[in-house]
Symmetry: C2
């Protein structure tokens, strides 16, 4: 019999797919799988299929795994109650007792938080924040998610939902946000936000741009990136505007949290010189003097396809050390 | 000989006066004194006089005090370096090694932080936050100071200067702030900010008001409070505007920190129904849904004349338990 390998299961529940993997203490994903998130009669049925998949990963022929716990990253995941609460992009409404149901199956510690908090934990345990006690992890996707480490601890706050930086209001009466309010950071700084900015520039300016010859409805933030790389002035302007809003917001967040580093993760974070560097310049221009040269913006150290699983798995590893 | 009483010294260094006291573990100030902060040849001379004053308090005839440490609240106090750094309202410029100098005199633990952080610690140890792990303490005076407790710990951040909520920018290209930037929260929400709002309303509106018959240059925020209490519409409008800016800012801070309570301290905090209640209403109107009913605004539990000494003393008590 092979030697026993201690692992935790990291599960990332997305709107379309659920990915899961077994992760060792060093952040190696030893085995992984995926199931659809949609298309089940009930949440209970989904949990059954998910449990079978976890069991399948554990029943490896070549390895002798010992499961130490299950960590879950999910939209509106609540660490205190072990629930997913009113997640807009899942089929099931209301409060879903996801931790309780999996605990019943595996009789083991199960923890759940939102995906950005999980990413911050992953950064701390397995990424570029190993020796950093104060940092902000920002995930840039369709929206803007964030997880905060303060004095060495992931910040959950009183509600369990601390760190919703995407919903800090950066423009009075600004863009309509999906949350029902106006001017939230994520309506400007996200893949969707960048496209809204491009649309605004197409409408409000007469800037010559190749984007004008493109079908706007199929346009992605990656396309804008490619246009900008080719020197398209409107695309460059859109990135500059995005970087400016982000930089100013990060200057404000620094006045609250005084982080040592701010890590960006996700598609837009790859746009290094178009976003990270100018955002850092705008942030520095707007920092209160005492914070000058105390904070930098960097790319996450987590790999794109692995971050979600590692972050979720870190929820358990952080407890058992 | 009387029984030994363990005490810490709490020192509050203000621009004009320095107040100090001996504080027991229960937050009783057993003895107190004050010296001028201005008028010394050197910072060393000031420290000598301050040390003599501490010694005088310790040499009580009726009590047998044992000094366990010295805590200091001071503008731009840095906990990591034990220094006061570039404080605008002190006579001495540059970096002042206040902790080191007092440690040399008393050979005892000496800690320094800014006055708002000290107030937050005082609230936690001796005030209304005893059982609260996530809260914000806001001190309203000439400016707006703040101290943050996150997950049970005072948040210093990487620089030691976390929690400068007064310098979060709430209006793009807003009012000029003493920090050199524009639109900082404290240019609106503070005694000075309230007076600026009154001035703006006097200029921009034709609102009938008794304030128009008053010498503006001698007007204080207390006067505005008195006018508002008498039903002066312009004064009421100024308070409502202040409450609105504060409430919206607190909604944003909640999206970062998710505190359970926000404590207001200082002169303006006394204006309960004119400021606290409307600020709470504006905050609630602007909260992201997940935070609804998770946070409230309350008055500090610290007494006005005692808070600074208690907070500074708490810097030491928090360590020795």
């Amino acid at each position: 019999m092979a030697e026993i390998k201690n692992v935790t299961a990291g599960i990332d529940i997305g709107g379309t797919n659920t990915v899961l993997g077994l992760v060792d203490r060093n952040g190696n994903i030893l085995s992984k799988a995926a199931i659809a998130t949609k298309g089940y009669n009930s949440f209970g049925k989904y949990i059954n299929i998910l449990s079978e998949k976890i069991q399948m990963l554990l029943n490896s022929k070549s390895d002798n795994f010992e499961l130490k716990g299950i960590g879950i990253g999910a939209p509106n995941g609540n660490i205190f109650r072990g629930t997913i609460e009113h997640a807009a992009n899942l089929d099931w409404k209301g409060v879903l007792p996801v931790a309780g149901l999996l605990k019943k199956e595996f009789n083991i510690s199960v923890k759940v938080t939102n995906d950005a908090n999980a990413a911050a934990l992953g950064e701390k345990l397995f990424g570029n924040a190993k020796h950093i006690d104060n940092f902000i992890e920002i995930t840039l996707g369709t929206g803007l998610g964030s997880g905060i480490f303060a004095e060495g601890k992931l910040l959950y706050g009183h509600s369990g939902f601390a760190g919703e930086l995407g919903h800090v209001i950066v423009k009075e009466n600004g863009r309509q946000c999906g949350c029902g309010r106006k001017g939230c950071l994520e309506t400007y700084v996200s893949a969707t936000g960048l496209l809204r900015t491009v649309k605004e520039l197409l409408t409000d300016t007469e800037e010559v741009s190749l984007i004008r010859n493109t079908d706007f409805y199929t346009l992605t933030s990656k396309d804008i990136y490619d246009f900008a790389k080719k020197g398209d002035f409107l695309a460059l302007k859109a990135f500059d505007f995005t970087a400016q809003i982000l930089g100013k917001a990060l200057a404000d967040f620094t006045a609250v949290l005084s982080p040592e580093k701010i890590f960006l993760f996700g598609g837009l974070a790859e746009a290094g010189n178009l976003l990270l560097k100018p955002a850092e310049t705008y942030m520095n221009e707007n920092l209160l003097t005492v914070y000058k040269n105390t904070v930098s913006i960097e790319k996450s150290g987590l790999k794109h396809g692995e971050a979600a699983i590692l972050g979720a798995a870190a929820l358990i590893w952080e407890d058992i050390g």
